[in-house]
Every structure is written in C-alpha cells, then in structure tokens.
Symmetry: C2
Subunit: 329 residues, 2 copies
C-alpha cells in the first residue's frame, strides 16, 4: 500500500483494486473536494451520507439474486412438508427448480408488470408469517454462510465486489457514513453485512415484511406478518433513505433502473453529488448484461453520472482473485 511521509496509509491506497481510469479519478476528485474545508463543494461530515444498492452493486446478482435462492430453498422445504402446495406457484417452481418462471417474474417487474411478482411475494410472505425476527435471522445467516455460488463455486459471501468494499472503506476514511439501500429484503442481509461489508445492521435499509409485536411475560418478540411493509425499489428508495437517515445523501451507487430515483436524489444543484452506476460488462470475470438497466445507463450518460465498467475500471473483482494476484508480491 502507498504510505505518506509519516508512514500512514494514504486513503487513496485503499482503492487498489481499481484501475487508474477516469471512473476512479472521478471518485477521488469528488471526495477530495467534499473534504476540503472552505472549498466550494465542501460537505460537512454529518452530511457525508453514502448509499449503496446491494444486488449487482456490492455483490453478484446473477444467475439470480442470492435472496431468491434462499427463498426457493425455503419454499421447496415447505412444499416437501405440505404436498398440497406443490401444484401452486411459487411452491411448484421452487420444488421443480423452475428458474424460467422465476426469471420471468423479475423481467416482468422491470417491464412494469408486477402480477407474477405478487404471486411470488405472497408465497414468500406466507412462508415466514409468524416467524420471529431472530429465527429468520438464524436461517438466513446459515444459508449465507454455507451456500456456494452456482457458477463460481465460491461461497456466496465471497461474491462481494472487492473494489466496492474498498470504496466503502475509502469513503469512511474520509468521514462518510455508508448505508445499504437495497431492493432486497433488509432482514435477509443484516446477519452478514457487518462481516462482508463492514456495515452493521442498523445501517441496512431495504424491503421489509410487516412486523408485529407479540407480547408475553418474558419480553415478547417481534414476528413477521404475511404482508409487505415496503418494497424498497424505484421511488421508494429516496423515501426509505430519508425516513431512516433524516438526511439527503451526497453519494449513491446502483446498477439498475430501480436505482434511478436514488441516484437522482444524491446531491442537488447547490451541492453536487457523486452518482455511480455499475456496468456489468465483464462476461469473463462476472456476467455481461444490461437487462433491467437500460434506462439507468441512458440516464447516466445524459446526466453525467459516473459509469463504472467492471471490465475496464476494476483490476480485481473478487477478493479471492486478489489474494491470487498478489501471491508472492
């Protein structure tokens, strides 16, 4: 790592997995301006809020979102226990591993049609109704700790993007507070976000099921309801970010159409923000796709957001490659 004359690690040395390209330079320049006291674009520390989408922005979302794999496992288990469920979606698809049906659900959502998503969500909400938040956290954590990525073979929790984890640390080293604002389920990610991203449970914002308090003589518990509390995508992202933080972010990173309002919300004319759009264009090392991101890519070009090409801007994508590449160095 690069050190300054006193031997301390220079913060920009935290971005070692980034190529020396305009995208990296845009990040460094933005942060330099934000921390320069008296500068025209100075941002006071309390206002240095950075929000990150999760799936496809901080870790791999292909061939399907990690959470979907978890849900399918849970639904398949229930279909095993209750044969009556097997003739109905989503249990049928879960038990038959019918990824085509599930792919359609996601594609239709991005096309603005949520009819099948509703069927899937209803099944999911039923699956976890009346479960305590602690029990859910346990089974989610077990899944996240033990399951391997179907293509890469590495553990799911090792499918985080090293350059983005470096970026989280880089921003924090400059006084930013980082949050995840995910379209995925908030409570699914919370058990491992501190370990894999260094972001604790209280800084995770995301989709959530309704909850209710079930009191008893020993303190009671919070349990899930069979209804959605909020689907944290599109225009709900700024809403839930503001609800949670009470401040408007200045840095936002996303990778799909669902992130457009969040990216637009970061910064304002009087205080420019840094908006990063991750482009999945590396079929060799990860995946190459633009489905669900078409409008966000257009918007990024039109509004001068910083597009991050996984292929060209990232020297390393996953930490285990990184460990390989520095071997003996």
């Amino acid at each position: 790592m690069t050190t300054d004359y006193k031997g301390a690690v220079r913060p920009d040395a935290l971005l070692t997995s980034w190529q020396d390209t305009p995208a990296r330079q845009a990040i460094v320049d933005y942060v330099d301006r934000a921390v320069q006291e008296g500068g025209a674009q100075y941002v006071p520390p309390s206002e240095r809020i950075a929000v990150f989408d999760n799936d496809g922005t901080l870790w791999c979302e292909k061939p399907m979102p990690v959470e979907l794999g978890f849900i399918l496992q849970q639904l398949a288990e229930r279909a095993e226990q209750d044969p009556g469920l097997r003739a109905h979606q989503p249990w049928q698809a879960a038990r038959d591993q019918d990824y085509a049906w599930l792919g359609h659900v996601i594609t239709k959502h991005y096309q603005g049609d949520d009819s099948e998503l509703t069927v899937l969500l209803d099944g999911i909400l039923q699956a976890f109704a009346d479960m305590s938040v602690e029990t859910y956290a346990e089974i989610a954590e077990r899944f996240l700790r033990t399951t391997r990525h179907p293509t890469f073979g590495r553990l799911l929790r090792e499918c985080t993007y090293l350059p983005m984890v470096e970026l989280l640390r880089y921003l924090e080293a400059h006084g930013f507070t980082t949050y995840i604002a995910s379209g995925g389920d908030r409570d699914f990610m919370r058990p491992i976000t501190e370990e894999v991203y260094g972001i604790p449970a209280e800084r995770i914002i995301g989709t959530s099921a309704g909850l209710r308090y079930r009191g008893d003589d020993t303190g009671g518990s919070v349990v899930y309801q069979a209804k959605l509390d909020g689907f944290d995508d599109g225009p709900m992202k700024p809403v839930r970010i503001w609800s949670r933080i009470g401040r408007r972010p200045v840095v936002a990173a996303g990778n799909s159409n669902g992130d457009i309002p969040m990216l637009g919300y970061a910064g304002r004319p009087s205080r420019p923000g840094l908006r990063l759009l991750i482009l999945h264009d590396d079929a060799d090392r990860e995946f190459s796709y633009t489905a669900g991101a078409e409008t966000s890519i257009e918007r990024a070009r039109a509004q001068d957001w910083t597009v991050v090409s996984m292929k060209n801007d990232w020297a390393t994508i996953f930490a285990d490659e990184s460990r390989g590449s520095v071997r003996g160095g």
Copy 2:
C-alpha cells in the same frame, strides 16, 4: 466532577444531577455488570442498545406535548388564511386555543378511544401534505428554537431533563448506542435532537407521516403524504425499534402506558435488561400526574422495573436550575 487517578472524568461522575438513591444505584450496577467482560451479564458493545421515549421521559410534556403546540400554531395559521376551516376541528380548537378539546383527545387515546385523535391527525396530515421534508424541518426547527414553555418561561429546548441527558452520556461512555423511540413525530424532533440530546437524526425513531418521492431534473424531493405511515406507540414501539436497528435493546426508558411494550421488550430472560419508568411526582419543580401512566406504574412494581421519582431521585431537573445551583461554586 470526580476524576480518576489519571485525571480522566470517571463515568459515574456524569450522573451528578441524580441523588444517591436506589434508582441511581440500579443504573450504575446494571451498567457495571453489562460492561464486565466474562461476567454472567456481560453485553457485547454491538448489543448495547438503549432506547428512550421522548415526551415525559427526556423532556417536559405538560401542560401539553411540545409538538402539539407546534401543530396548533400551524393549524391556527391555516385557519387564519382559510376562514372555511374555522368551523371544523381541529382548526377551530387551534384558532380558539381550546385546550380542553385537545386534552380530551389525548385522554381518550389513553383510554383506548382514538375517534377524536383521528380527527386531529387528519387535520395535521392535511396541513403538511405535499410539503418537502426540508421545509418541514425548517419550520419545526424555528418553532423549537424560539418558543418558550408556557409555564416555565424558559425556551422549549431548555425543558429537557438534565439527569436524563447525563444518563445518555453515561451510557455512551460505556459503549451503549442511544436512540429515541418517540410516540411523537420523528421529523419534528430531528432538527434539534443532536443539539439538545446529543442524538443525531439517524437515531431518532418515531411516528411518521407517509412520504413520497417527487422527482424532477434537479434531484427531486421527498414530500409528505396526507396519511400516517406509522403511529409509534404501544406495540408499534418494539416493531419500529427492531425495524430501524435490527437488534433488541437492553436498556429502555419511558413514562407512560404507551411505553409498556418497549420496556418489556428490553432484555430477555437470558440477558436481563434495565427498564426505567420516569414518575412525574414533583409538582414543585415540574408536574405531578399519573394519568396515562397507571398501568405502566403497576407493571413496573410487578416486574421489578426501576421507577425513577423525579422528586426523590433527581437533585436537579432542568439545566438552568443546575447553573443556578452551582453559581459561585
């Protein structure tokens, strides 16, 4: 202040406005056990979550909750602008300063009848519909900075309880993270909580109006909807605490029946919690009342929660008395 042999302030010296009574001792004992590594009641730092009700727990809620004064001012202004509103509640009561009607609304709520509360809430929600969160924060902050308490004459923001502010610092000095979980409006308090309690906006949980994102070419804004998102009282307090933090608190402080589920939720059989119930029994220095707190007082006695008597356990209630009492010392 008491200092240790190295000259550092000893954390228990932070509780100088507390009398040396069993209530103070219960707090100190609990915290000592919680931080003792290897002890049976050790609580890891990440689990040291402390939640505080606001009105009547951290600051004065009589003769009426501070927020109600703000709302009445806003409603009265609207009734001035729009004479058609004046014949209807809640504008009529606001314009006529009819505190009797408003008192009934609160009393009925604590009796389980929310019919008039709904009328009041509808008026409030209409008053702020389509306002941006930034504009609301500005007018709330202006009110909180400039308005005086009707009985005491001191500024509202000086009506915080010094022993409780000391307790916040005391807990933080021992690695606890403090949150406010208020039945009052989250966004009303946020502009001044950092200044008066040392708790920043992102650690304020409370009642909230629905929000929506209104996009535009310059980043858009988050604005209020004319509907309630969640009334953060009673069994909703544990729900919103868990949603927000992702952890179960170990310390909770409240002062009314609406705080019972939150107090019950703090701790569990395997990890005892500290539950504080503030008793308003000091007619000379503050107010003496139990209306709306009857059941919580019974529960506290039955379940061995720590009852804090303002009269007997607090040497000082408000900071300006404190400044007076140490004058020349």
